[in-house]
Symmetry: C2
Subunit: 332 residues, 2 copies
C-alpha cells in the first residue's frame, strides 16, 4: 500500500480518495488544508487519517510516501516543490503548472531527487475507454484528422459578468479555457497523434482578460486536429476521429462514456468496455502500479512517456496561450 | 410566369425544375445540353420544353427570360457571360464563379445590362428554417460564437484514391472542399454575422492538389466562428450558435431539417416550421418574387443584399483558398 496524503479538500480530492480505496493500492494517512478546522473536518470525513495545516509537518508526517495535490492551480508549483524536496511522490490535478518554466524547475528538482516520481493526474487518459479509442485508432489504415470538444458552461462566468474575479477565470489564478479545460483534449490529441508540428489558437477573451472560448488547430504532417474548448458555453458536438470511410465518435473527450466506431461498412460498433463508477479509478490503478513497481522496466517506460507527454502538453499550452497574448503573474 | 431555360441535365436541375413548377412562378421553355441527344432526352423527360445543343440558339429561343445554370462550375463563368450578354436573368448553382475576378467581370457585365438580374442560388438561405435561425438569433442578447459543419464523404474521393481526376476534386475543375461544400456554411456565417474582420483556413490537401478537409476560422469583433468543411469524410457534429446559457443547434447547416433552441432555462424549443419536400422551393419562390417585382423597392433591396453577400463570400473564399496556396487555372 502506498501511504499518501492529500492537499485540498474539494470534490476531486474526495473522488481520488474513493478511487484510491477502490484500487486497494493506496492508504490515506494525512490530509492538509490551510485552515486547521477545514483540515480536521476533512480528516473526520475520511476516516483513519491525521489533519495538518502546516505543510512541512504534513510532509514530514509518519510514513508518508506520496501526496495528491488538488489545490488551486496557482498554488501547485510551490506545493509540488516542497513535496519533492521532502522526497514524496507527487500526484497533481491538472494543470500541474502554469507554464513550462515551472515544469522545467520541477524536472530539475526531480533530477536532484531521483527516487521521487511526479504525475499530472489526467484521469481520461487512464480510462479503459481511452485505451479502446487508441486500440481502434491503431487498426485504421488512414487517419484524416480529428475534432475534440471540451466546452463547459461553468458557473464562474456568471460571477465574472457580475463583476467578480472567481478562481479559474482570472489571470491572477492562471485561469482561462486553455488551462481549465483545454489541457484535456490537448492531452488526448498528443497522446493519440504525437506532438504537432504547429499549433494555432483563436480565442475570445472575457472581461477578466483570460480566454473564455476558443478553437485550437494542431497541424500534423498528414492531417490536422481541431480542439474546441470553452468555459463560457457548452456544446452538443461529439468528439470525432476521421478515417477513410470510418470514424470513431466519442460522446465526451474528458468523460469517455460512449465510444462508437462507425466502420467502413457504416456499421456502428459500440466500443464501451469497462466504465468505472468512479472516473479516477483508472488513474489510481495506473499510478499505483508505477509506484509499486519502481524497478519494473515496463512501468519505468510508462512513467517516462507520461512525463514526456506532460512536458509536451505544457509547452504547447504555453505556446497557444502566448499566441493570444495572455500573460500570467507566474510567467517570467 | 417567368419563362426560363436550363443549362445542365443533372439531379439539381431536376430539383430546380420541380421546385419552379411547385412555386407557380416559372415556366420551363428550353433546355440546353452540349450533346443534342442528352438535350432531347432531358427535354422529353421535362414535358413542354424545347431541346438545344447550341448555346446561342438556346439563349435566343422564343420568349426566354431567364436561365438556370447547373453545369460544371468551371464552365459557369462563360455561360453566365453569354446569358447576360443575351439579356437573360441568370440563376446559377454555387459556386457561381471560381474567383473574385470572374465575379467582378460579371458585375461589370451587369452594369452594362441593367435589366438583367444575377443570382447565386444558395438554397439553404431561402429555406424557412434559415429565417427561423436568423429570427431566434436576433432575440439572443449575447452571441459567443458558432460552429458550422459541412462535411461529406463524397464518392469522388475514392476515384481520386484510384488515380482518377473526378470533377470537383481537381484543380482543373476548380474543385476542393472550399468550393464544393465550404461555400454553404460560409454563406450562412456571412448572412447571419456579417463580413468577418479576418479569416483563416487550415486544410489537408488530397493527391490532386485540392483541399479535402479543413477548418475555417472567422474572426468577428466580439466572437469567432469556426467552419468544419470536407469532401473526404462526413461528421456527426451538429452546427451550433452559442449565446449566453443558450444555444441554437442545427442538425445540418445545408439542409436545416431540425433546428433546436436550447434556451437559458435549458428548455429545448423545436424551431421547425415549414420544411418544403423539395428543398429548392424556397429559392424558386424568393428569386421568382424578385423577378416578378423588378420595380418593388423591397425586392430591389433584397436583390442588392444577395449580390453583396455573394461578392463577400467569393472574396472570402478566394482569400481562404490563397492562404493554403491552391491555384485554379482560372486565376490570373
Amino acid at each position: 500500500m502506498i501511504r499518501y496524503g492529500t492537499i485540498g479538500t474539494n470534490k476531486i480530492t474526495n473522488e481520488f480518495i474513493e478511487a484510491a480505496t477502490i484500487s486497494r493500492k493506496w492508504e490515506l494517512t494525512a490530509v492538509y488544508a490551510d485552515d486547521a478546522k477545514d483540515a480536521q473536518a476533512f480528516a473526520d470525513q475520511q476516516s483513519a487519517s491525521t489533519a495538518f495545516s502546516d505543510l512541512n509537518t504534513f510532509l514530514q508526517s509518519d510514513g508518508l510516501e506520496a501526496v495528491f495535490i488538488a489545490s488551486s492551480p496557482i498554488r501547485h508549483f510551490e506545493q509540488i516543490k516542497r513535496a519533492i524536496q521532502a522526497d514524496k511522490h507527487v500526484i497533481v490535478q491538472p494543470p500541474a503548472v502554469t507554464n513550462p518554466t515551472e515544469f522545467a524547475a520541477i524536472e530539475q528538482l526531480l533530477a536532484d531527487h531521483p527516487d521521487v516520481r511526479f504525475f499530472e493526474a489526467v484521469y481520461p487518459l487512464h480510462m479503459p475507454n481511452f485505451e479502446n479509442v487508441a486500440a481502434t485508432l491503431a487498426t485504421m489504415p488512414a487517419i484524416q484528422g480529428a475534432t475534440f470538444v471540451a466546452m463547459r458552461d461553468l458557473p464562474g462566468y456568471d460571477q465574472v459578468l457580475a463583476g467578480q474575479q472567481p478562481d479559474g477565470f482570472t489571470l491572477a489564478s492562471a485561469g482561462g479555457a486553455l488551462q481549465i479545460v483545454g489541457l484535456y483534449p490537448l492531452y488526448a490529441a498528443l497522446r493519440l497523434f504525437g506532438r504537432p508540428k504547429k499549433g494555432s489558437y483563436f480565442a475570445t477573451a472575457i472581461q477578466t482578460g483570460v480566454d473564455g472560448l476558443g478553437a485550437i488547430f494542431l497541424e500534423y504532417p498528414k492531417f490536422d486536429v481541431t480542439l474546441h474548448i470553452g468555459i463560457t458555453t457548452d456544446s452538443f458536438m461529439p468528439s470525432e476521429i476521421y478515417g477513410l470511410h470510418e470514424k470513431i465518435v466519442i460522446d465526451n473527450i474528458t468523460e469517455l462514456k460512449l465510444i462508437n466506431h462507425y466502420d467502413v461498412d457504416k456499421q456502428n460498433n459500440l466500443l464501451n468496455t469497462i466504465t468505472y463508477a468512479n472516473r479516477l479509478t483508472g488513474e489510481a490503478l495506473a499510478i499505483g502500479n508505477v509506484l509499486e513497481n519502481l524497478n519494473d522496466p515496463e512501468q519505468q517506460k510508462q512513467y517516462a512517456s507520461w512525463l514526456q507527454l506532460a512536458r509536451d502538453v505544457h509547452t504547447t499550452l504555453f505556446h497557444l496561450r502566448s499566441m493570444v497574448g495572455i500573460k500570467f503573474p507566474t510567467d517570467r
